[in-house]
Protein backbone atom coordinates (compact mmCIF):
# COMPACT_ATOMS: atom_id res chain seq x y z
CA UNK A 1 0.00 0.00 0.00
CA UNK A 2 2.98 2.31 0.27
CA UNK A 3 2.16 5.42 2.22
CA UNK A 4 -1.19 6.16 0.67
CA UNK A 5 -3.90 6.58 3.28
CA UNK A 6 -7.12 4.64 3.05
CA UNK A 7 -8.96 7.92 2.47
CA UNK A 8 -6.84 8.55 -0.63
CA UNK A 9 -7.51 5.07 -1.97
CA UNK A 10 -11.23 5.59 -1.38
CA UNK A 11 -11.12 8.78 -3.45
CA UNK A 12 -9.39 7.00 -6.35
CA UNK A 13 -11.80 4.07 -6.14
CA UNK A 14 -14.78 6.47 -6.07
CA UNK A 15 -13.50 8.18 -9.21
CA UNK A 16 -13.04 4.81 -10.94
CA UNK A 17 -16.55 3.71 -9.96
CA UNK A 18 -18.03 6.88 -11.50
CA UNK A 19 -17.20 5.26 -14.84
CA UNK A 20 -16.87 8.70 -16.36
CA UNK A 21 -13.55 8.38 -18.13
CA UNK A 22 -9.94 8.22 -17.20
CA UNK A 23 -8.83 8.55 -13.61
CA UNK A 24 -5.73 10.53 -12.71
CA UNK A 25 -4.41 10.38 -9.16
CA UNK A 26 -2.30 13.14 -7.61
CA UNK A 27 0.33 12.56 -5.01
CA UNK A 28 2.34 15.18 -3.19
CA UNK A 29 5.80 14.63 -1.83
CA UNK A 30 6.05 10.86 -1.72
CA UNK A 31 5.13 8.76 -4.69
CA UNK A 32 5.24 5.25 -3.35
CA UNK A 33 2.12 3.18 -3.75
CA UNK A 34 1.57 3.78 -7.46
CA UNK A 35 0.75 0.07 -7.78
CA UNK A 36 -1.96 0.39 -5.17
CA UNK A 37 -3.72 3.28 -6.90
CA UNK A 38 -3.29 1.63 -10.32
CA UNK A 39 -4.94 -1.53 -9.05
CA UNK A 40 -8.08 0.34 -8.09
CA UNK A 41 -8.43 2.12 -11.39
CA UNK A 42 -6.17 5.16 -11.87
CA UNK A 43 -4.41 5.19 -15.22
CA UNK A 44 -2.03 8.06 -14.41
CA UNK A 45 -0.27 9.16 -11.27
CA UNK A 46 0.80 12.79 -11.32
CA UNK A 47 3.73 13.23 -8.99
CA UNK A 48 3.89 16.69 -7.42
CA UNK A 49 6.88 18.02 -5.53
CA UNK A 50 6.99 18.19 -1.74
CA UNK A 51 5.49 21.49 -0.58
CA UNK A 52 6.53 21.28 3.04
CA UNK A 53 3.95 21.96 5.73
CA UNK A 54 0.42 21.33 4.43
CA UNK A 55 -0.93 24.74 3.49
CA UNK A 56 -4.37 24.36 1.90
CA UNK A 57 -4.05 27.62 -0.04
CA UNK A 58 -0.82 26.50 -1.68
CA UNK A 59 -1.94 22.95 -2.32
CA UNK A 60 -5.39 23.88 -3.65
CA UNK A 61 -3.85 26.21 -6.22
CA UNK A 62 -1.53 23.43 -7.39
CA UNK A 63 -4.41 20.94 -7.65
CA UNK A 64 -6.43 23.51 -9.63
CA UNK A 65 -3.50 24.00 -12.01
CA UNK A 66 -3.28 20.27 -12.66
CA UNK A 67 -7.06 20.00 -13.06
CA UNK A 68 -7.08 22.86 -15.60
CA UNK A 69 -4.11 21.53 -17.56
CA UNK A 70 -5.64 18.06 -17.81
CA UNK A 71 -9.11 19.55 -18.31
CA UNK A 72 -10.69 17.23 -15.74
CA UNK A 73 -14.47 17.23 -15.16
CA UNK A 74 -14.51 16.08 -11.56
CA UNK A 75 -12.07 16.43 -8.68
CA UNK A 76 -12.61 13.83 -5.95
CA UNK A 77 -11.08 14.41 -2.56
CA UNK A 78 -11.56 12.93 0.92
CA UNK A 79 -13.78 14.89 3.30
CA UNK A 80 -11.03 14.99 5.93
CA UNK A 81 -9.99 18.22 7.68
CA UNK A 82 -7.47 18.73 4.88
CA UNK A 83 -10.07 17.88 2.22
CA UNK A 84 -12.59 20.29 3.72
CA UNK A 85 -9.95 23.02 3.51
CA UNK A 86 -9.06 22.15 -0.08
CA UNK A 87 -12.39 21.38 -1.74
CA UNK A 88 -14.06 24.84 -1.56
CA UNK A 89 -10.88 26.59 -2.68
CA UNK A 90 -10.48 24.28 -5.69
CA UNK A 91 -14.16 24.74 -6.56
CA UNK A 92 -13.70 28.51 -6.41
CA UNK A 93 -10.59 28.45 -8.56
CA UNK A 94 -12.14 26.14 -11.19
CA UNK A 95 -15.58 27.78 -11.01
CA UNK A 96 -16.95 24.31 -10.29
CA UNK A 97 -19.98 22.90 -8.48
CA UNK A 98 -19.06 21.82 -4.97
CA UNK A 99 -20.43 19.09 -2.73
CA UNK A 100 -18.79 18.11 0.55
CA UNK A 101 -19.80 15.22 2.83
CA UNK A 102 -20.72 13.12 -0.20
CA UNK A 103 -22.03 9.63 0.65
CA UNK A 104 -23.18 8.33 -2.75
CA UNK A 105 -22.01 7.94 -6.31
CA UNK A 106 -23.84 10.16 -8.82
CA UNK A 107 -27.13 8.53 -9.92
CA UNK A 108 -28.40 8.41 -13.52
CA UNK A 109 -29.58 12.05 -13.23
CA UNK A 110 -26.19 13.13 -11.96
CA UNK A 111 -27.46 13.72 -8.43
CA UNK A 112 -25.45 12.85 -5.35
CA UNK A 113 -26.43 12.40 -1.72
CA UNK A 114 -24.61 14.42 0.91
CA UNK A 115 -24.87 14.73 4.67
CA UNK A 116 -26.33 18.06 5.84
CA UNK A 117 -27.27 19.70 9.15
CA UNK A 118 -24.29 18.16 10.96
CA UNK A 119 -25.18 14.64 9.90
CA UNK A 120 -28.82 14.89 11.04
CA UNK A 121 -30.16 14.60 7.48
CA UNK A 122 -29.20 13.81 3.90
CA UNK A 123 -29.87 15.93 0.85
CA UNK A 124 -30.14 14.88 -2.77
CA UNK A 125 -28.25 17.47 -4.82
CA UNK A 126 -27.95 18.00 -8.54
CA UNK A 127 -24.66 19.58 -9.52
CA UNK A 128 -25.12 21.75 -12.59
CA UNK A 129 -21.59 22.97 -13.16
CA UNK A 130 -19.56 21.64 -16.07
CA UNK A 131 -16.86 20.98 -13.50
CA UNK A 132 -17.43 19.41 -10.12
CA UNK A 133 -15.54 19.07 -6.87
CA UNK A 134 -16.67 16.25 -4.56
CA UNK A 135 -15.39 15.67 -1.03
CA UNK A 136 -16.36 12.14 -0.07
CA UNK A 137 -17.06 10.98 3.51
CA UNK A 138 -14.41 8.52 4.73
CA UNK A 139 -15.51 4.90 5.25
CA UNK A 140 -18.46 5.36 2.88
CA UNK A 141 -17.10 3.66 -0.20
CA UNK A 142 -15.50 0.31 -0.88
CA UNK A 143 -12.07 0.12 -2.43
CA UNK A 144 -12.62 -2.07 -5.46
CA UNK A 145 -9.73 -3.86 -7.11
CA UNK A 146 -9.71 -3.32 -10.87
CA UNK A 147 -6.25 -4.74 -11.44
CA UNK A 148 -5.07 -2.10 -13.87
CA UNK A 149 -1.66 -0.57 -14.37
CA UNK A 150 -0.73 3.10 -14.37
CA UNK A 151 1.95 5.41 -15.69
CA UNK A 152 3.81 8.00 -13.63
CA UNK A 153 3.69 11.54 -14.97
CA UNK A 154 5.66 14.57 -13.85
CA UNK A 155 4.09 18.00 -14.23
CA UNK A 156 5.41 21.51 -13.93
CA UNK A 157 3.38 23.57 -11.52
CA UNK A 158 3.81 26.97 -9.95
CA UNK A 159 3.91 26.79 -6.18
CA UNK A 160 2.86 30.07 -4.62
CA UNK A 161 4.47 31.62 -1.59
CA UNK A 162 2.51 30.51 1.47
CA UNK A 163 0.89 33.03 3.81
CA UNK A 164 0.91 30.68 6.74
CA UNK A 165 3.86 29.74 8.93
CA UNK A 166 3.76 26.62 11.05
CA UNK A 167 4.78 27.37 14.63
CA UNK A 168 3.98 24.14 16.34
CA UNK A 169 2.57 20.77 15.38
CA UNK A 170 0.74 18.68 17.95
CA UNK A 171 0.06 15.51 16.10
CA UNK A 172 -1.06 12.27 17.58
CA UNK A 173 1.21 9.78 15.88
CA UNK A 174 1.19 6.03 15.58
CA UNK A 175 -2.55 5.83 16.06
CA UNK A 176 -5.22 4.78 13.62
CA UNK A 177 -6.83 7.91 12.15
CA UNK A 178 -10.27 8.23 13.71
CA UNK A 179 -12.15 8.84 10.46
CA UNK A 180 -10.57 5.81 8.80
CA UNK A 181 -10.92 3.36 11.67
CA UNK A 182 -13.14 0.29 11.16
CA UNK A 183 -13.77 0.05 14.90
CA UNK A 184 -14.04 3.01 17.29
CA UNK A 185 -14.28 2.82 21.08
CA UNK A 186 -15.58 6.00 22.65
CA UNK A 187 -15.71 7.07 26.27
CA UNK A 188 -17.92 9.64 27.98
CA UNK A 189 -18.34 11.31 31.33
CA UNK A 190 -19.42 7.96 32.80
CA UNK A 191 -15.76 6.99 32.97
CA UNK A 192 -15.34 9.56 35.76
CA UNK A 193 -11.84 10.77 34.93
CA UNK A 194 -8.88 10.66 32.51
CA UNK A 195 -7.09 8.18 34.79
CA UNK A 196 -9.67 5.54 33.80
CA UNK A 197 -8.96 5.74 30.08
CA UNK A 198 -6.79 2.66 30.30
CA UNK A 199 -10.05 0.69 30.18
CA UNK A 200 -10.92 2.20 26.81
CA UNK A 201 -7.41 1.82 25.47
CA UNK A 202 -7.10 -1.84 26.53
CA UNK A 203 -10.34 -2.69 24.78
CA UNK A 204 -9.26 -0.66 21.73
CA UNK A 205 -5.98 -2.59 21.58
CA UNK A 206 -7.82 -5.91 21.53
CA UNK A 207 -10.07 -4.78 18.67
CA UNK A 208 -7.40 -2.81 16.78
CA UNK A 209 -9.69 0.17 17.24
CA UNK A 210 -9.28 3.95 17.42
CA UNK A 211 -10.34 5.74 20.59
CA UNK A 212 -12.75 8.66 20.71
CA UNK A 213 -14.63 10.68 23.30
CA UNK A 214 -17.73 12.81 23.85
CA UNK A 215 -17.77 16.60 23.99
CA UNK A 216 -17.79 17.01 27.80
CA UNK A 217 -14.73 14.78 27.99
CA UNK A 218 -12.77 16.92 25.54
CA UNK A 219 -14.11 20.14 27.14
CA UNK A 220 -12.81 18.99 30.51
CA UNK A 221 -9.52 18.15 28.79
CA UNK A 222 -9.58 14.54 29.87
CA UNK A 223 -8.84 13.74 26.22
CA UNK A 224 -7.51 15.80 23.29
CA UNK A 225 -10.04 17.64 21.15
CA UNK A 226 -8.90 15.59 18.12
CA UNK A 227 -10.73 12.60 19.64
CA UNK A 228 -14.03 14.44 20.09
CA UNK A 229 -16.78 12.94 17.94
CA UNK A 230 -20.15 14.62 17.52
CA UNK A 231 -21.79 17.61 15.92
CA UNK A 232 -19.00 20.05 16.75
CA UNK A 233 -16.24 17.46 16.55
CA UNK A 234 -15.51 14.77 14.02
CA UNK A 235 -18.12 12.78 12.14
CA UNK A 236 -17.24 9.11 11.92
CA UNK A 237 -18.66 6.14 10.11
CA UNK A 238 -16.97 2.99 11.41
CA UNK A 239 -18.27 -0.55 11.02
CA UNK A 240 -18.48 -0.86 14.78
CA UNK A 241 -18.92 1.95 17.31
CA UNK A 242 -18.80 1.12 21.01
CA UNK A 243 -19.93 3.93 23.31
CA UNK A 244 -19.01 3.63 26.97
CA UNK A 245 -20.61 5.89 29.54
CA UNK A 246 -22.09 8.24 26.94
CA UNK A 247 -25.76 9.17 27.38
CA UNK A 248 -26.31 9.87 23.69
CA UNK A 249 -27.29 13.52 23.32
CA UNK A 250 -28.53 14.39 19.83
CA UNK A 251 -25.33 16.40 19.23
CA UNK A 252 -23.27 13.28 19.91
CA UNK A 253 -25.50 11.08 17.76
CA UNK A 254 -25.07 13.49 14.83
CA UNK A 255 -21.42 12.53 14.67
CA UNK A 256 -21.79 8.77 15.00
CA UNK A 257 -25.27 7.73 13.82
CA UNK A 258 -23.99 6.59 10.40
CA UNK A 259 -21.90 3.88 12.08
CA UNK A 260 -22.91 0.49 10.76
CA UNK A 261 -23.28 -1.17 14.17
CA UNK A 262 -23.62 0.74 17.43
CA UNK A 263 -23.05 -0.88 20.82
CA UNK A 264 -23.94 1.16 23.91
CA UNK A 265 -22.66 0.38 27.38
CA UNK A 266 -24.29 2.46 30.09
CA UNK A 267 -25.45 1.82 33.62
CA UNK A 268 -28.53 3.96 33.10
CA UNK A 269 -31.18 1.95 31.19
CA UNK A 270 -32.93 5.26 30.43
CA UNK A 271 -29.94 6.62 28.50
CA UNK A 272 -31.28 7.94 25.18
CA UNK A 273 -28.36 6.32 23.34
CA UNK A 274 -30.04 2.90 23.69
CA UNK A 275 -32.76 4.11 21.29
CA UNK A 276 -30.12 4.64 18.61
CA UNK A 277 -28.19 1.45 19.30
CA UNK A 278 -28.05 -1.97 17.69
CA UNK A 279 -26.84 -3.66 20.87
CA UNK A 280 -26.87 -2.45 24.44
CA UNK A 281 -25.35 -3.53 27.72
CA UNK A 282 -26.84 -2.08 30.88
CA UNK A 283 -24.06 -2.21 33.40
CA UNK A 284 -21.25 -0.39 35.09
CA UNK A 285 -18.41 0.25 32.64
CA UNK A 286 -15.91 -0.59 35.38
CA UNK A 287 -17.36 -4.14 35.54
CA UNK A 288 -18.30 -4.68 31.91
CA UNK A 289 -15.25 -3.38 30.05
CA UNK A 290 -12.54 -5.42 31.80
CA UNK A 291 -14.68 -8.57 31.30
CA UNK A 292 -15.23 -7.74 27.63
CA UNK A 293 -11.51 -7.08 27.12
CA UNK A 294 -10.63 -10.30 28.92
CA UNK A 295 -13.11 -12.31 26.84
CA UNK A 296 -11.66 -10.90 23.61
CA UNK A 297 -8.14 -11.61 24.78
CA UNK A 298 -8.97 -15.25 25.48
CA UNK A 299 -10.80 -15.68 22.25
Amino acid sequence: MGNIKKAGLEAVSYAAQMNAGEVTALSIGEHEGIDAIAKIGASTLVALPDMGHFDAQKVSSVISQVASTLNVDTVVISNSYAGKDLAPQIAGQLNASLATNVVSLPNAEGEITRGVYSGKAFAQVKLNGTKKVLAITPNSFDIIDNNKSAALKEMDVTISEGRVVLKELKKVTGKIPLTEAEVVISGGRGLKGPENWGLVEDLADELNAATACSKPVSDMEWRPHSEHVGQTGITIKPNLYIAIGISGAIQHLAGVSSSKTIVVINKDPEAPFFKAADYGIVGDAFDVIPKLTEALRNN
Partner: protein, 78 residues
Amino acid sequence: MGKATIEHDIDGGREELEVTLPLVVSAQKDLCEPRIPNMKSIMQARMKPLNVVPAIEVTQQSEYKTYDLPPAKTGVLN
Protein backbone atom coordinates in the same frame (compact mmCIF):
# COMPACT_ATOMS: atom_id res chain seq x y z
CA MET B 1 1.53 44.05 8.11
CA GLY B 2 -0.36 42.52 11.02
CA LYS B 3 0.00 38.93 12.00
CA ALA B 4 -2.13 36.56 14.02
CA THR B 5 -1.44 33.27 15.74
CA ILE B 6 -4.22 30.73 15.56
CA GLU B 7 -4.83 27.10 16.46
CA HIS B 8 -6.04 24.94 13.61
CA ASP B 9 -7.46 21.42 13.84
CA ILE B 10 -5.90 19.00 11.38
CA ASP B 11 -6.35 15.30 10.73
CA GLY B 12 -5.14 13.56 13.86
CA GLY B 13 -4.03 16.62 15.79
CA ARG B 14 -3.77 20.36 15.98
CA GLU B 15 -1.28 22.93 14.71
CA GLU B 16 -0.38 26.44 15.68
CA LEU B 17 -0.07 28.80 12.74
CA GLU B 18 1.21 32.30 12.26
CA VAL B 19 -0.80 33.99 9.55
CA THR B 20 -0.52 37.32 7.78
CA LEU B 21 -3.60 39.56 7.82
CA PRO B 22 -6.08 39.94 6.20
CA LEU B 23 -7.36 36.54 7.20
CA VAL B 24 -10.42 34.39 6.58
CA VAL B 25 -11.14 31.73 9.19
CA SER B 26 -13.97 29.30 9.70
CA ALA B 27 -14.37 29.07 13.44
CA GLN B 28 -15.65 26.16 15.46
CA LYS B 29 -18.79 26.39 17.50
CA ASP B 30 -18.31 27.28 21.17
CA LEU B 31 -14.96 28.91 20.40
CA CYS B 32 -15.86 32.04 22.32
CA GLU B 33 -18.87 33.47 24.07
CA PRO B 34 -20.46 36.52 22.48
CA ARG B 35 -20.14 39.65 24.59
CA ILE B 36 -23.38 41.17 25.84
CA PRO B 37 -23.18 44.86 24.92
CA ASN B 38 -23.87 47.45 27.60
CA MET B 39 -26.48 50.19 27.28
CA LYS B 40 -23.98 52.77 26.09
CA SER B 41 -22.77 50.49 23.29
CA ILE B 42 -26.34 49.70 22.23
CA MET B 43 -27.11 53.42 21.96
CA GLN B 44 -23.88 54.05 20.10
CA ALA B 45 -24.65 51.26 17.65
CA ARG B 46 -27.64 53.28 16.39
CA MET B 47 -25.31 56.06 15.30
CA LYS B 48 -23.08 53.77 13.21
CA PRO B 49 -23.32 54.14 9.43
CA LEU B 50 -25.08 51.29 7.64
CA ASN B 51 -23.39 50.47 4.35
CA VAL B 52 -25.55 48.48 1.98
CA VAL B 53 -23.47 46.75 -0.67
CA PRO B 54 -25.11 45.36 -3.82
CA ALA B 55 -24.83 41.59 -4.20
CA ILE B 56 -22.66 40.27 -7.00
CA GLU B 57 -24.14 38.04 -9.68
CA VAL B 58 -23.46 34.36 -9.18
CA THR B 59 -24.57 31.33 -11.10
CA GLN B 60 -26.33 28.72 -9.03
CA GLN B 61 -24.09 25.68 -9.47
CA SER B 62 -26.13 23.20 -7.49
CA GLU B 63 -29.78 22.41 -6.98
CA TYR B 64 -31.17 20.83 -3.80
CA LYS B 65 -33.85 18.30 -4.72
CA THR B 66 -34.92 16.49 -1.55
CA TYR B 67 -34.04 16.14 2.12
CA ASP B 68 -34.28 12.83 3.96
CA LEU B 69 -33.76 11.71 7.53
CA PRO B 70 -31.15 9.01 8.05
CA PRO B 71 -32.59 5.52 8.42
CA ALA B 72 -33.55 5.07 12.07
CA LYS B 73 -31.87 2.43 14.19
CA THR B 74 -34.29 -0.02 15.72
CA GLY B 75 -32.90 0.68 19.17
CA VAL B 76 -32.73 -1.65 22.13
CA LEU B 77 -34.41 -1.75 25.55
CA ASN B 78 -37.73 -0.25 24.51
